[in-house]
Symmetry: D2
């Protein structure tokens, strides 16, 4: 895979940070240093050529001349904790440390860039953003889609004279960002496109963790805790929690590891059966007989194979995501009917915290993380890098080409030690398939 980062051209301007923090010369990035992709080596069999990634951070020389630089920020897709922190950090870093004072906020995602959008961009100033990290959501608003006519988006950027576009969003948004960068390159526009990957599900490739993920699973812990209380409060109580996770069960897994009250966790990566002799319902029955209550945590993308959609499961939302059937409601109904058939009293309490999780303000660790991602995004943009995202790998901030980042999705490897840790924490059978 190609991990080299594109740049707009030669960096000719001296960074003003060099003057403001002269004794911190050593804090600027040495381009000869790179970050290894893999930290684990086979001592008997070391690889010859190992992939490395570019280190994020401030550069001595800038491509853009700060006083004449104009930036824009856009937030796309569903809400995620920390969006406002990232916006705030980009504005503060640009303004106070580079002297870039013209920063436009695009309203409601890429749609706000379209010709004829009813929502005009807003000027973002330090005064306007200084307290926004204390509330959830995004002050810019967000929306799905808007990528049907990338050329028109580039037209708008060109008209507004934008030099750096900071685009915060998921897969679809980043693919759009890549196309914007490509078209800008063809047109010869001095436009740097810097992505800050946003996925509450933590499923971006080559990225150790995505912002907002920790806040999300931390908040999910509350739902599990409530389910546990409810399960204890009724005869054969079953607390059932549905959490986010379309393609990966990271939120469900992390929340379960953090609050050890989950007895069964279901994720998209691990198919399962429901019926005896080895399905979930069978194991649930045994568990209830022994322990009188149980907590089940299911990721929204799990067990989709159990449900036959009238629409053949191909309906999509504006981001192009297939609309999922509701596995939480489905399992609730299956539990109810299974135990009704067996004339065993069971009380299922179903909790779907949904928007309560993604609308949270960032927890302190996420707030810090978003603040640094914002700083690094600005460093990259000012240096004229483009078609890339900022992220973290092996605990180090790095640059990844958008193309590499969107080649696939990170999912839980169910043969890994991590999944083994999860299973040991819940105590559930390693396998709930009938064959």
């Amino acid at each position: 895979m190609d991990f080299s980062i594109k740049t707009l051209g030669e960096c000719r301007f001296r960074s003003p940070i060099l003057d403001n923090y002269p004794h911190l010369e050593s804090a600027f990035i040495d381009e000869n240093k790179r970050v290894r992709l893999n930290v684990i080596v086979d001592v008997n069999n070391p690889e010859e050529e190992e992939p490395t990634l570019e280190i994020a951070g401030q550069r001595r020389k800038l491509y853009f001349n700060p006083p004449y630089t104009r930036a824009a920020i856009v937030t796309c897709g569903g809400l995620c904790p920390g969006l406002n922190d990232v916006i705030r950090s980009i504005v503060m870093e640009s303004h106070y440390h580079y002297g870039v004072t013209s920063i436009m906020g695009i309203r409601y995602g890429y749609n706000g860039l379209k010709e004829g959008s009813p929502y005009a961009p807003v000027e973002l100033t330090p005064d306007k953003v200084k307290d926004i990290h204390k509330i959830g959501g995004t002050i810019l608003g967000s929306s799905r889609g808007g990528t049907d006519n990338i050329n028109s988006l580039v037209d708008s950027l060109e008209k507004m004279g934008i030099n750096i576009l900071y685009t915060i969003g998921g897969d679809g948004t980043l693919t759009g960002a890549h196309e914007i960068a490509s078209i800008a390159e063809k047109r010869g526009l001095p436009l740097s496109v810097i992505g800050i990957p946003k996925t509450i599900d933590n499923d971006i490739n080559f990225i150790q963790k995505s912002f907002g993920f920790e806040t999300a699973f931390s908040k999910a812990v509350e739902a599990i805790s409530g389910a546990h209380v409810e399960a204890n409060g009724a005869p054969n109580g079953v607390g059932l929690v549905k959490l986010m996770g379309r393609h990966s069960g990271f939120i469900a897994s992390y929340a379960s590891l953090a609050m050890n009250d989950v007895n069964f966790i279901l994720v998209p990566e691990q198919p399962f059966d429901l019926d005896p002799p080895n399905g979930l319902l069978f194991h649930l029955e045994n568990y209830l007989i022994k322990r009188k209550h149980a907590v089940i945590c299911v990721a929204e993308g799990a067990g989709q194979e159990h449900m036959v959609s009238a629409k053949g499961n191909t309906e999509r939302d504006k981001s192009g995501n297939i609309r999922l059937n509701d596995i939480g409601v489905y399992i609730k109904e299956r539990i109810t009917s299974y135990f009704r058939d067996r004339e065993m009293e069971v009380n299922v309490k179903y909790i779907d915290p949904s928007y309560l999780i993604r609308s949270e303000p960032a927890c302190p660790n996420d707030s810090l993380f978003c603040g640094l991602l914002g700083q690094y995004a600005v460093h990259a943009g000012m240096a004229g890098k483009t078609d890339m995202i900022v992220g973290m790998i092996n605990d180090t901030y790095i640059h990844v080409p958008i193309k590499a980042a969107v080649t696939g999705r990170k999912t839980i490897d169910v043969t890994s030690q991590f999944w083994n840790n999860v299973l040991q924490a819940t105590g559930q059978p390693g396998n709930m398939k009938n064959s």
Copy 2:
């Protein structure tokens, strides 16, 4: 209405508290003092005879001889914050201050008292309950119903030799408690039945506030806050929150007053229309045009008249409550179709926090309140009072006969200053009926 409290007979035993706190003699209740039901007087037209209530608190003389007294606690109906606090307080007060050491916990509501229940009562000790107030729910478990054969419940109590039954539950539970007390009286059993009214909806008559209510509306504030963030995050975003409140909109109203982000509140006490010229959807449309986002808070019992149930709305759960149709889902769908017809983009985000609210541990003020209710319940029980509840009115702890407490439900008076306060806080029209 008759507010006199029944007692089992003459109080012959000196309270041990008199010996332990000799200088606090003045803290014992003077039976000549009573609490006014009404604090508001018409100066031109004072009433002749005004109803008064018995003051809660410790008595100098006890009916039961502590070392030979045996108590039981039962929790019934849905979960409510503070249940464990009440249980803890009853055990601690009985044990440490009266020397009553035999306290049984009945499992899973009245059903746990039935002949042949698979769930045996548990012994409750200070050591077992000392930390339970830090978690939500009830360590005893709860369930609905169990009142179909009151005689058999009294049989069990008689067999176990219970002298004081502390019963924590709502309307149905209290009616059952009244019947238990009546049957015990007929049988000549020395059984005191003390109710601690539990209604997360705060709708018990003659009771200023019920325990858990504050925790519930405080937690509901989080859902409203999340809805507000979501509403701001999308073009014409509408955050819609459904809260508890079958017959009364207190939780919705208090939460709305506490977090001033609600624009429309719908409660069972105030009927409303949806369609133009004066219905909710019409006013919502105008509001969105002006403000671009809106938050709606609906109590679960509101607007039931809009939905025609296949079952004619008469299906009941085990507590005898009519099953409500889901007004939250209904309004969500009506908003969606209304604006689709008008080709106006609207993004509805629906939040149903449900069990997340009732499974919370008590907030400090509720914890304190539950602790005192428990102490007062024990004082009443030890003095041989029966067929009564402990509660608070005019900021004073009192005793109310169960019969008086269950004669009706407290609801919001929509001609009152309180409702006026709510309307001024949301800013919604005083009336959303078409005629």
Copy 3:
């Protein structure tokens, strides 16, 4: 005591609220209805004449003509949770429901009203205040004192053309407000002075609870919880928490009732000794021998008699409060030396949460309470009432003349049932005096 409320003159203007909520005519106050001060009656010996108080709420007729009315808000003294909620509510109610759009915010207490203050008043608008209730403190700033020249304050108010002064503060502030009202009356100024009493200690006369108090004791619960953890974490661990309460131990008592981990509570109202045979240290020693750890909660005003100040205890701060010696540090040292003398290992962990408590944003119940106090203050001001405060008694909102409110301080009656409840919750001896 005289509970009659002064008014500026005849109310000639029809309330605009009458037109906006026509069907809520019944929500306006009937001046013939009043609130009893006492809810407890002696049935054998009823009093002839009982004091009553004026009910707070909106009036049909106003003294001030809204479009020509100009209001000001000032916050004085130490911070208290809920200040911003009150400010917000006054602005919102004035603006949206009365149409009063000119509202000035005085900076940093009465000092900001002084001739030559470097801090100019700020215009307060709905847009400026809409989110301020989500943060602690006061957006206006506050300060102590400033009451040395009341005439000059009235001069400023006159120059600014202020008709209603909303003054939020404690004893000293209210006394100042009373003087402002008196001077204004003498000068014949149409100035209504409405106080919203602020005392985090909850010690205002004739007021059931003061705003911010619940938030304060709820936050204090965290400190007690931390002290409990520390006490458990070391051999003979003693967690010692100092809480606010100069003259009254309400915060300490309520926090102890809410979180049942306190073993000894010390308040200003109840003197205590330290040494054997019956002092705190003696009882602490016995408790440690038995239980291995203990938690002590001390109000800052407790036990002042134990400390001899070099300055004879007469130094005062700008609000005129005597500077207290630090009883927390004193007790910590006494415990340490007592057990060192006895060669008994004891580990004292001292927690002084101080500003962490008063800087909290209001909890939901306080937020609601502040919102209503603000609404009621505006109703009173618009009706031309003056020299009064809004408050709550017997769970009903009322008006109290400032003079009556500042005649004395509310303290814990240590012969009352309430104090008895506290002692039963901690389990400490009723009396820790040696004679």
Copy 4:
């Protein structure tokens, strides 16, 4: 540096986990795989031999035969969030996955192992530990010191027949653990000593983060937030917060990055002056003139050079730590006198959250981290590894020999990009030295 891990001998027992999770064979550790210490490479100048570390995780073969294995857990030094999580995890993993049912909890640190300790060890069972992660502190209690006679500690372990000692503590504790392992080796005892490094300051070498650190700085954010509210609430308000950090300013730095309200941060790694022309007080004065309020965050170990101790700064506590002078109180006094001299009103509000931070229960991310550290510690112990700690580096769990871990302390490199990030977030001068 030598990163090889000692083992007690040949592993002869098959791990029972292999049987319980047969399809997860791949989740067992391949000893040929190791983790690189350094992830950053110089592409022009790659190193020949790079240090690698052993990967943590479950092994196929065990040294100890589970049914005959006896473990002990000890917690030492000051409290730290997550201690109970680690204890819980060790017990659960040992019990449920290895079948090791004999686990002793040593009371109050190494002192509880001493001959004649009044505190007998307690048996730890799943039932006893299942909910302990929900409260702060350590159920075992802790204490400093106890390492003066290591031989006697080994005597006790030998008498109790302990095979694996899990020791949770800081520098001194780990050094003690190393000595225990050495003596056990000399005596030929089959004793595995596994350390889980505990340092709330996050200053252990070769360890990316220590447990409890995130909870600590997250809680510290509240103190900074309170200081910010107080600073805004008074004329020229200065909020001053003292945070933990004897030798390193990580808590102060992370908290400041997470909550962007800090204007000046002072850490032990960066000396500073106070007076003009370039000291803190001078810059504070300028900042106040411009902005009217300021927040200062100081780590307890900062600026010690400014204070001359009567005892020459050499007094030590039982852990051997030099007692620090109180830099928070010192700076508070210097600010007060500096501005008094200049007749400029300044209001300093000093917050020292101290024990409130370390007594917190672990935040979800720390809870998860502690759970995994506990699992990995058990895997290591069962495989007979010894004289080592479990930790994380480059986002991967690893083993480090105790000797390597205690060779030095991790501190902030004030020439690094990280410190640069902190300075850019606060906006303070890069250097506040006069020469």
